[in-house]
Amino acid sequence: MPADAQNGNASKGYAPLLIFIGLGSVFVPPFIIILSVGMIPSIIAKFANPTRVRGTIASMVALNLAGVIPVMGFLWQRGASIDNALMLLSDVYMWLMMYGGAGIAGFLLWGVPAVVQSFYDVQARQYIKRLEKRRSKMIEEWGGQIIEDAKVQPVVTKNKTPKNK
């Protein structure tokens, strides 16, 4: 039952999109052609999302769409016909514009977490250094016995390290 409900929710989520595509195909087919072809990377990303992390599809769709919108602007400027749409699709720069956006999205989704992780690692190393310095100071003040006694006494788990006495 939960699986059915999930499927139901998914289909409900896609419904406006399908309605939009259906209506677009009837009233503005050239735009729908450009949109359909230009958004292929997002569609692929939707179905082949390896990490299932929230936000990745949104990034992909947003940047992909950012690349498609100017192409649709050109179509609107040249006249919204299927010929013009096909002509634009035959232009490699248009493809570059649409898929370049998706490429940039992919790069961001790979690169930004890596940068953030590096930042976290540096921060953790600095924090460990500070803690080790404090531990050394405590050993200096209370003697090596504190290492043994700390092992023997029951550990009081606290997320925060107590401030200096």
């Binding site: 690349g67 050109f74 961001l108 989704l109 977490p113 992780q117 690692d121 925060k160 006495k165």
Partner: protein, 672 residues
């Protein structure tokens, strides 16, 4: 006294020459040395140096020195002499009799003329003189009579103060009241004891050999009980009727029938009486059979019972002794008290064997209420327990165990109460083997016998008011009171760099016994486990209190000891900073020599408790730090996950921003 010129000198006058011993004048364990009188070189003197732990007769010294006693070696002076920085001894200085001893054992007996004409009148004078001052000599014997000058002139009776009363006497010299007691437990006795000894001395001098030679003290005692001293000893010596009458008067075993001082005065003045000699102990009309022997005398029965206590207890349990005393001796009072002694055996303290012994001891004390009190290996006369306890510490052995058992079991109190209930001559007795107050004190201190300041050591000092502290720490040095003790401990500690124990069992007991108000401190100490920090701190507090009360001068030596016991406590402090700070402070403050100040400045208890609290907090902090380091070191996965999540969020924000920019720019480009 630190002046080197005064070392070895008593009262700046009598120089004791330790390098010139006079062994023939030794008195028991006390050694004799030549003395140089620095004010009058014509005086020929000798000194008796008291051996450590010897309870000399300090109670009679003042009376004895108040007035010269003709016929006795003159006691010129007495007191503590310092021989080096830590060697103090108690010394008595007497005239040295240059004529030697009046009687030598093994040589022929003296003539009746010499004994009765020269020696006895002098000794009678001494006895009369001492009796008028209500003191006893207790050292009248043939070997203790000297000629003061060469040519057998000037009879002088030897000293009587350097050892416990009667302890140097042969057993034969002791009357029935103390003949059965151990040498150190014979007690002060009365003038009648001296009179009896005078009689024995006459027999000894006339006979030339020790009276009763060849018999053990117990055999002599038994023989005296059966036949009477006169019948046992006098027929064996060549004696005229004059001597016979004198000895019959002096050697009567019943003190009430023995010649007293008045009769002696009359005898001295030439009025001779014809006394009837005594015939031993009272006899019952019917015998009591014990251990296959028939007994008519209760004191003999008592003696036999002490030799076989297990059989004696059976006899007591059967009620035979009680009925014999009631019916044959017609002594209902003693009979009732004997019945009570059985209950001691049934309900007393300790194991069955111990209860039996206690029961027999009580029964014997009733049967022989005039004689020595018996308990296992211990026998002592009235007033003799103090000397016995002191002797038991000088020579460890079963007697010490017996004394401890007697005092801690409450049996001594029981015997004393029972003895005091007895009425003599229509009035209740007011004295017993030990004063009731002292016995109660000893019973109480034996209850906490394991604690410092209590136990048998405390009894030793309570029962011997003039005894020096016999702690091995003092190395035999004499101290009379806590003030002297403190000063000596200071000197010793300074010499040993603080490595002494100023609170061993003897020193603690001595302090409590000799210092008012110290009992409560040691009582508190008794409640604290010895491993506790408070225990050591309380010892230091006691020492500080003693310094404050008795000897407020600087005590750098004792402060070194304080440092030595405080340092391990300071080492218990976990904080290196605080520990080093306190050590430096201690080093500085001990220079003051003030123990109270050390306690105040160091405030160790407070420092320790603060350190303990802070150390607990430090351990928690240390655990948290270790935990955090470990979490961070092992947190790569978590950081990766967080980085992805945050990175994708940033990417999506950037994407949406790009989308909005694309929309805006496209709108402006294509419509503009």
């Amino acid at each position: 006294m630190d002046n080197r010129q005064n070392l070895g000198v008593l009262r700046t006058r009598y120089k004791v020459l330790l390098e010139q011993p006079i062994s023939h004048m030794d008195s028991g364990e006390n050694r004799a040395y030549k003395v140089e009188d620095q004010r009058d070189s014509s005086n020929v003197l000798y000194a008796l140096v008291i051996t450590p732990g010897m309870p000399f007769r300090d109670k009679i010294i003042e009376t004895l020195t108040a007035k010269n006693t003709p016929g006795m070696l003159d006691l010129h002076s007495h007191g503590v002499v310092q021989f080096d920085a830590i060697d103090f001894r108690y010394v008595f200085v007497f005239d040295l009799p240059s004529g030697g001893r009046a009687f030598t054992e093994g040589a022929a007996g003296l003539s009746e003329q010499v004994v009765l004409g020269t020696i006895v009148p002098k000794l009678v004078d001494v006895i009369i003189d001492l009796s008028s001052r209500k003191i006893t000599h207790r050292n009248i014997r043939a070997e203790n009579v000297f000629y003061m000058e060469a040519g057998n002139t000037g009879v002088g009776l030897g000293e009587c103060v350097s050892t416990p009363a009667g302890s140097l006497q042969s057993a034969v010299y002791e009357p029935l009241e103390s003949a059965n007691a151990l040498a150190d437990g014979r007690g002060e006795g009365t003038v009648m004891t001296d009179i009896y000894a005078l009689g024995i001395m006459i027999v000894h001098m006339l006979g030339g050999v020790s009276p009763g030679e060849g018999r053990t003290p117990a055999e002599l005692y038994a023989a005296k009980l059966i036949h009477g001293t006169y019948a046992v000893l006098v027929p064996k010596i060549p004696a005229s009727s004059r001597v016979g009458f004198l000895l019959a008067g002096l050697l009567n075993d019943d003190p009430s029938r023995r010649w007293n001082v008045d009769v002696l005065i009359r005898w001295r003045d030439g009025v001779y009486e014809r006394p009837r000699p005594g015939f031993g102990d009272r006899q019952a009309p019917g015998p009591l059979v014990f251990d296959d022997n028939e007994y008519l005398s209760p004191r003999l029965l008592s003696l036999a019972m002490t030799r076989r206590p297990a059989q004696a207890y059976t006899l007591l349990e059967n009620g035979k002794v009680e009925s014999w005393v009631r019916n044959s001796l017609n002594d209902k009072d003693s009979g009732a008290r004997l019945a009570d002694s059985i209950s001691v055996g049934r309900s007393g303290s300790g194991g069955a064997r111990r209860r039996e012994l206690q029961s027999v001891a009580k029964a014997c004390s009733i049967l022989d209420h005039q004689g020595a009190l018996w308990y296992r290996e211990l026998t002592f006369s009235r007033g003799g327990l103090g000397g016995m306890v002191a002797a038991s510490f000088r020579k460890d052995g079963p007697v010490k165990t017996a004394i401890a058992e007697l005092l801690e079991g409450g049996i001594l109190l029981d015997i004393i109460y029972s003895d005091l209930q007895k009425s003599e001559g229509g009035r209740r007795k007011d004295d017993s083997w030990v004063g009731i107050g002292k016995a109660t004190d000893c019973f109480e201190v034996m209850e906490k016998r394991e604690a410092l300041g209590f136990g048998l050591e405390r009894c030793l000092y309570e029962l011997n008011a003039g005894l020096s502290c016999v702690s091995p720490v003092l190395k035999g040095s004499y101290v009379r009171n806590s003030e002297a003790l403190l000063d000596l401990l200071e000197a010793l500690s300074l010499k040993e760099n603080g490595k002494i124990n100023p609170f061993d069992r003897h020193i603690s007991a001595f302090i409590v016994a000799r210092t008012n108000g110290m009992q409560k401190h040691f009582q508190k100490l008794a409640t604290i486990p010895t491993s506790d920090v408070d225990y050591t701190l309380n010892l230091i507090i006691i020492l500080g209190r003693l310094q404050h009360l008795l000897s407020p001068s600087a005590k750098p030596g004792l402060c070194l000891w304080v440092k030595s016991v405080m340092t391990p406590l300071i080492n218990k402090i976990h904080s290196d900073i605080r520990r080093e700070f306190l050590k430096k402070k201690l080093d500085k403050v001990i220079e003051s020599g003030n123990i109270d100040l050390i306690l105040k400045e160091i405030d160790l208890k407070n420092s320790l408790s603060r350190d303990e609290k802070e150390y607990d907090q430090a351990i928690k902090a240390f655990q948290a730090i270790t935990h955090n380091i470990s979490s961070l070191e092992n947190g790569g996965e978590a950081r990766l996950y967080a980085a992805r999540k945050y990175g994708h969020w940033i990417a999506s924000i950037m994407s949406i921003a790009a989308l909005l920019s694309s929309l805006g720019l496209s709108y402006m480009y294509f419509t503009g």
